[in-house]
Symmetry: C2
Subunit: 699 residues, 2 copies
């Protein structure tokens, strides 16, 4: 599943006359009397109530971010404040409400979805497009000297507000213009979301066995302490839910699609504290006590070796503040994903603001995790292939499959696999024009029947105890148009060109991205999302700190590429209103051998671990180079050798045949420039054309 | 000619025991008794005298940069302080002298050259290589609390010292460690360089006609004023010599290889001041008075319209200081290439530090300049091809050509061309192992005979009134080895892949670079320099603010790529001690048409304007893709159509034949995957093999 493409933003302001008139949102235009999408949530009442709270708090504009207190990409239903106020359910977006306007910014993956879901109270801001202001540019135009912007201090990570102890330049610019910026602890959406709100998540935690994790938590804490020593800081504040899950070899179920539990941690050289919701109940598990080497009351009294103190989630902020106050405390390591409330509880001079060291440790998988990732992808391929064989057959028979029923049924195929713990994200099951909505999530009101008359894009993945998967393939069960084939082939060529690349160790993913986009660019086509995201091992489907994407965020947030990282390789093409193509394969970064080795330079490359065949009848092989065809043949052979064999062993004969039909090797182009060959064939043709005009030998 | 590759620097310190023992410098190792390169300058006396001045000034380490007061890449012989003190003559490098050590940092282009030229007083620091400290890291280790670092305030551009009014973090780190940093106006090398020093350059200025410049200076000053208005600043301080030359449509001869004259300028909304050495003599020219609309005394009294006040070079600093003192002055625009002395004459609160707006205006050529660049490259190709035909013929005949004699003779061929004003840089004429020295400048002591037994790399260019050229081709006049052919072909494939690329407008050069390197990387080979540099129109051969290179300098210094910019496309490969390959073609950025045009996205691409054929017998076409072969054929056709025709028209028959022999189109590979063809040929073979075993039809 794709991540945002960080296009350089054209810093020009588009003036929106009146409230909701924005290009492409014709249903909101004055005088419009046609149908309104059933996907839209009526937010009038909610906005009216929120604006009352704005007035009560003397706030003139209120920012509602997507994040929870842990900067999570997916949030629990309880924390879905931005979706509640706007109706927009995508994973990324920022809403701003003023006394008379409401605007929502989102990125290229979500433009179509946001347009479908936002009602006419909302201005849709297509971030990164020409003439679209950034949130702060818009706020500076909308507000004047003396007015105030509010935002929840818990639900805003400091990376969005602060850099090196200073407000970000865009916020500083507002302050310079006399506009106040006021992070507040009591969220105003919480104040109005009183009925029908889901419960606070506080589910159980599970121990993640060493047979999957590869390293025990005590060893991982030791690695963190090495970083504390090297940086000469007293403590690391851990706020990311994936980080606490990875660090303590624990998993939970508080967040949809992510096996996380709501938590914080503080790691010092001689002390480790873990903060959990409903911690007493969790501690009643003897297994957890043993795993963490903790007493039943969460204390470490009398414990030998590393012990984790388990404490109440709500006591975290006070503990951090107290630690910062201690004279023996040098500095406290706070990452950019720490929320502003925790950060603000520390004296500025004590804050050591830097990316969490856990991010890179977690991204570079150990050998047990690497094998688990591969194993989980084989089982995942078995599920996907088995389902796709059935779906294709039944669609061709005219059975009434829809986007929603297909996604639901595919989930059942995954659930039959060992170690399955749920989906890793909402399946993107898009037929025809819905395939062009990059992060499309089918629902009852948008659901389309899957037929032989269009392209079908299926982007899905599972959480398994040994790994997280994420795979996209695009299909056509009838006869594709030439343009559909061309687009598919260009996307495939880009995906292969990235997979083929080798590079000297030490580069960033951004350095490689253009290689993937080049085949589409040459045809005048682009895709508005990143080429590759990191992926966790039974953790987040989108995992930092590496990425494969053009664009210039702070380099301090991005890591170089290292052996043992896993990324998606997923170029795409989207023809609005018609179809989408995306081909996503998870690849492992490995050291590769090269014919030569310049001054012992180490070279890295990609090993594909997603093993699902591509669609021969969507490939125009004449567009491809010999190198690309050779890769494709080798990949398909690997699919057959590993997943084909597994299907056969499991007696899944129909699925085996479905794969077999797709992996026939393509013949390679020949080079006539070898003089012998050229002459031979030319002479040959000259010699025999008079006799055998029926045949031709084209070179 | 290549520019530096900004590798990410491994920040580990290599401890150098004793003075000059550095890896690869075996002639400096203790106990060594073998030959010492004749290229080495004995710097013992100079260092001894400089150290006396260090002691007199209570300075513990002195930094000697390459730059003059104008941050020039090439400096006048008078300003070659770094070369004088170290013996190293490369265009880039930083020397540091302490009480008992002397160290020189340079980049990958110059590692071999520096090793040849530095005597054993010097530690060679290979910047960017693992375990090599940066200058400031080394200084921090070498010095202690209370000691002082000195540097010339005139010969250090502030971009190397200051960012946003603050010392750069690496300098701040020294200050935090109690080490002083003291820019001083009176350079200490000047103090010791008393005998044998070349004269201060103060040559004449020439008017650059509008027929070549395309726009008059008054219009250009208007563009600068638009930037002053937009930024709400009072004045622009112009310190770059290419900027004054471009702005006033003037050229000079104070700097080798660059048509520049030593100068500063100040542009305000209602006033323009130009500072020249020996300004009274220059003003005696009536033409110059008319051109600048200036009185004979340099004043503007009584002048209508835009007038340039011409003043004494030495009064610039005081004028800037006075301007900054005026209460009506808001801010003064200072670019990162302004020297520290000028910057320091302004109150910090008045400095507006940003890239000069002239840099981008100058890089985006107007239509007259674009045509001039193309015309000059055609004449330059005529000269190079005519000479190369003769050189190849005579080398094969056994005539005694050497690197030096070839470079000198080629200069004469260029000098026969219209509008020729000299070379644009020292020709890099490297045979065999000398070709592996990236910025090799042949001299009497290194000169090698050119034979049929090795590769010959020739990188050269001219200054013409209508454009600046820079071209590299690599030759072999005998039988190349398979590896030489393979390396040449990989470099060519990279050069072609960049030339073939199309990309959506809005990207930086760094986004494209990997495309060029990929063919070499896949073979395990790399080159340690940038892929492309900007080039001026009768200005610098290396011109900012765009570049095509991996690496992460401050993005504020780098520009996006725009229609009308010109860059080199010059990948290479260098096998130390054996040979070098570089293929450099100047390309113009143009809007390109694409088969599709996604949402009216504008696409950019490259139009090659260097028109010199490649070497067929160094190309292994079987390694190339159909797309690459197709580009090569089209390029060679263009060479023939334009330069071939010119050679014919000029009666240069031998040169014409030399080109003709090189531009024969390669046959394209064929794709057997079209089922009809495949079957046809297979059946054909089966049918006839029994009869005709003599021939084969390979597919």
């Amino acid at each position: 599943m794709v991540t945002e493409h960080n296009d350089t933003i054209q810093r020009c302001v588009q003036k929106c006359h009146g409230v909701p008139k924005v290009e492409d949102r014709e249903t909101c235009a004055s005088g419009y009397s046609g149908p309104v999408p059933a996907t839209r949530v009526n937010t009038s009442q909610r906005l009216q109530r929120l604006r009352q709270h704005l007035r009560n708090n003397s706030i003139d504009a209120y920012i509602i971010s997507s994040e929870d207190a842990h900067a999570s990409e997916y949030v629990s239903d309880y924390d879905a404040r931005r979706e509640y106020i706007s109706g927009f359910s995508g994973s990324a977006g920022t809403a701003v409400v003023t006394a008379d306007k409401a605007a929502l910014w989102t990125d290229g993956r979500y433009f179509l979805q946001a347009d479908e879901q936002l009602d006419c109270n909302w201005i849709l801001m297509k971030a990164g497009q020409p003439n679209v202001p950034t949130t702060y540019e818009w706020l500076e135009k909308e507000l004047s000297n003396g007015q105030a912007i509010g935002a929840s201090s818990y639900n805003n990570p400091i990376g969005k507000l602060i850099s090196k102890g200073q407000w970000l330049p865009e916020i500083q610019e507002l302050l310079d213009a006399g506009i106040q910026f006021r992070p507040i602890d009591n969220d105003l959406v919480d104040a109005i979301w009183t009925t029908g709100r889901p419960a606070i998540p506080a589910g159980p935690v599970e121990i993640h066995p060493i047979s999957f994790a590869g390293k025990n938590w005590s060893e991982k804490v030791g690695f963190v302490r090495n970083h504390l020593s090297a940086a000469n800081v007293t403590a690391l504040v851990v706020t990311g839910l994936d980080e606490t899950a990875w660090l303590f070899n624990l998993r939970g179920a508080d967040i949809p699609y992510n096996p996380f539990f709501i938590s914080y941690a503080i790691v010092e050289m001689d002390r480790v504290r873990l903060y959990l919701r409903d911690h007493s109940t969790k501690l009643s598990s003897q297994d957890l006590q043993t795993h963490l080497n903790t007493n039943a009351d969460g204390s470490c009294t009398g414990k030998q070796g590393n012990c984790v103190e388990v404490k109440n989630y709500n006591s975290m902020k006070a503990d951090v503040a107290a630690l910062a106050m201690q004279s023996s405390t040098r500095k406290i390591w706070i990452s950019h994903s720490c929320n502003y409330a925790i950060y603000n509880s520390i004296d500025r001079t004590k804050a050591y603001q830097k990316s969490s060291p856990i991010a890179l440790m977690k991204a570079v998988k150990n050998s047990v995790e690497r094998q688990g990732m591969k194993n989980s992808h084989i089982r995942d391929a078995v599920a996907l292939i088995s389902f796709m064989q059935r779906l294709e057959k039944e669609v061709k028979e005219g059975k009434p499959w829809t986007e929603v029923s297909a996604a639901m049924e595919l989930k059942k195929y995954r659930e039959k696999q060992d170690y399955m713990k749920g989906l890793s994200f909402p399946s993107i099951s898009g037929f025809g024009s819905n395939g062009a909505i990059i992060h499309y999530k089918p629902s009852n009101v948008t659901d389309r029947t899957i037929t032989t008359e269009g392209m079908y894009l299926l982007d899905s993945g599972g959480q398994y105890l040994d790994g997280t998967t994420d795979v996209t393939r695009t299909f056509h069960f009838g006869t594709p148009t030439d343009f559909e084939k061309e687009a598919y082939t260009l996307v495939l060529m880009g995906a292969i060109d990235l997979a083929l690349l080798k590079w000297p160790a030490g580069l960033y993913g951004r350095d490689l991205d253009a290689v993937t986009r080049a085949p589409l660019w040459k045809a005048g086509l682009i895709y508005n999302h990143g080429t590759g995201h990191g992926i966790g091992a039974y953790l987040s489907v989108h995992e930092g700190p590496g990425r494969i994407s053009l664009g210039y965020r702070e380099t301090t947030y991005e890591s170089k590429l290292y052996d043992g990282m896993f990324f998606s390789d997923e170029p795409g093409y989207y023809e609005d209103g018609k179809f989408g193509v995306r081909l996503e394969t998870i690849v492992e970064i490995v050291y590769v051998s090269t014919k030569y080795q310049y001054k012992n330079t180490k070279f890295l490359g990609f090993n594909p671990i997603t093993l699902v065949p591509f669609e021969p009848h969507l490939i125009n092989v004449q567009m491809m180079s010999a190198e690309q065809i050779s890769w494709l043949n080798a990949y398909h052979k690997k699919v057959m050798d590993i997943v084909g064999k597994r299907l056969k062993d499991e007696g899944l004969t129909d699925a085996y045949k479905w794969v077999e039909a797709r992996v026939k090797p393509y013949e390679m182009p020949t080079f006539p420039s070898s003089p012998a060959t050229t002459v031979t064939c030319s002479v040959f043709v000259v010699m025999v054309t008079s006799v055998l005009t029926l045949f031709q030998c084209s070179m």
